[in-house]
Subunit: 341 residues, 2 copies
């Protein structure tokens, strides 16, 4: 098993990517192929001791920047770590490709260089959403700002398979994000999607409101990419602000500092529960190969975990399973669309 | 000054509404008119000592339920506390009306019984969003699931006036919720709205992403009602889960409990920062009278504060100001719409 890895992606360049790759070797069985600038990567690699036979470096001369226009970057930078990595995935030289680069470019590159699974209209970012109750799956976390009901049905199926295969949640409870529990709530997109989800063979449990998302009572949270992106980032933002507000209160006076010191161990468990770096990566489901988007600000730990989840995705044949099942749920979507007409 | 108050609205019935009204007398100058079942309200009122000349009870025989269909409830329950209260507002018998009842019914009732300000296409819920940096204004927090750019421009103007008049934020920074900072991000609705906001005389500072909303660096957060509702409720949900997770960690062992005890005072300051009951109410801006929606699960403290903010709204002539300024910003919207065509 070979996991491809974009050594140049993310805010913390080759420093954190290389450390993440080296650390990942300890928890995965497969080998890693890092795409990026040979000299920069080797400088970082030389800092660590590891089994050199398990990390291969593929030299690339270009980098897709965070501000690059997606399609232009993919077409204009054929020797970038991202494009070369995606091509290797299509050729089967690697079994998955993990990148913390420009999300739009990774999506465009996946479509242009790897392609969609036949029957899937739009690939979606499928993120693990940490809750107090373990973890849910949020899909789409931002790949498609504008969606049709058909897209959301596909997201629901793919998210459900991810929850089952990768997180081990059997018969996962699928819920639709909405602003009320009644099926008549929301925009026409959400009203129609609710109707269609009821007709599927998914374990659809109805709408989930913003207030209930973090409780983790449902396994798969389905949303359009605009809403999903806001849910994901807002959750991070609120958690960050609360943790930093808490720190301030602890540091405010001596008695607070002593209290904080006594709580230190318990609070570190707590921090772990709300730490996205524990999961680190979101697959672009619907692409005809396993592409995993790592968080732009990933550190080594987030990269290590993104690589770990990529391995679980490979081992569980996630893409192959979606490919095989797509015909059955494509039919469900067709039928519902017919009803609509 | 007379503040009308729906004594039957919200999850905690006359018990919390009446206590909230009595408590409010201590911090407001005006009098309160409570609409609801005379016997139930007087039973609760008899529990407290207060200046009886400052609370008037108007007996009504019906109640709009949380599950009632909005328009049907308003038309079918003419003697409900909500409908009678809204009619009193239109007649000028009261200067504001505060209710924790069914949001959809309150919106429908406001439109049917009070009416819109001429030039405003859609009233919006304008909520105070508590941040670590004070408070922002979020508009629309859920009145309009589906919006056009024109609606969002109106929300921006009205939210800006609320931030100025009621929160005292001069030249408030207005931001558009979005999934990226670039003006080409988001759905067509958001791309078009961004363009139009740039052309207004508002202090428009660009897009704000989910991650940055809780930081409180902007004063007015503009969103369609679907997204706004999810932002508001998700923020509450994340805060609730984190606070309860924190409590669990504190109670986990003896050392945690001691640490928690030492931190108790500091943490209560902290809790206050993230407590929606401090603000308690959201005006339905664009209605031709001051209607304030209180949180459905409001307790007495939330009601007291909702009444307090209603008083600030009356004193600052918020509705009158919107009415006067609407012609100038209606023109801005017209012009931008013309550009579009």
């Amino acid at each position: 098993m070979k996991i491809g890895f974009d050594g140049m992606g993310g805010d913390h360049g080759p420093k954190e990517t290389v450390k993440g790759a080296v650390d990942a070797l300890e928890i995965i069985k497969g080998d890693i192929v890092i795409f990026g600038d040979d000299a920069a990567l080797r400088t970082e690699l030389s800092k660590y001791k590891f089994d050199a036979s398990r990390i291969e470096v593929v030299h690339t001369t270009e980098v897709v920047g965070n501000d690059d226009k997606p399609v232009k970057a993919i077409k204009g930078k054929p020797d970038s770590s991202m494009v070369v990595g995606l091509k290797a995935l299509r050729k089967g030289e690697i079994d998955a490709f993990v990148s913390a680069g420009n999300t739009g470019a990774l999506l465009a590159g996946s479509l242009l260089k790897v392609g969609r699974i036949k029957g899937i209209s739009r690939p979606a970012l499928c993120t693990i959403y940490p809750t107090m109750n373990g973890a849910s799956v949020l899909v789409d976390a931002g790949a498609n700002a504008e969606c049709k009901p058909r897209n959301l049905i596909e997201f629901a199926y793919m998210g459900s398979m991810y929850a089952d295969k990768v997180l081990g949640l059997k018969n996962p409870k699928v819920a639709l994000v909405n602003i009320g529990s009644e099926e008549t709530k929301g925009t026409p997109l959400y009203i129609e999607t609710h109707k269609m989800l009821k007709e599927t063979d998914l374990n659809f449990v109805g709408n989930v409101e913003g207030r209930d998302i973090p409780a983790g009572n449902v396994d798969v949270i389905v949303a359009d990419g605009f809403t999903g992106n806001i849910i994901l980032k807002l959750t991070e933002g609120v958690a960050m602000q609360i943790v930093s507000g808490l720190k301030k209160q602890i540091m405010k006076n001596t008695i607070g500092k002593i209290g904080g010191l006594l709580l230190k161990r318990n609070l570190s468990d707590f921090k772990k529960m709300i730490d996205y770096t524990e999961y680190g990566g979101a697959p672009l489901l619907g692409v005809n190969g396993l592409v995993v988007k790592a968080h732009g600000s990933s550190n080594a730990k987030a990269f290590k975990n993104a690589i770990k989840y990529a391995q679980i995705g490979i081992e569980s044949s996630l893409v192959e399973e979606i490919r095989q099942k797509v015909s059955s749920f494509a039919n469900a979507v067709e039928e519902s669309s017919d009803d609509e007409a």
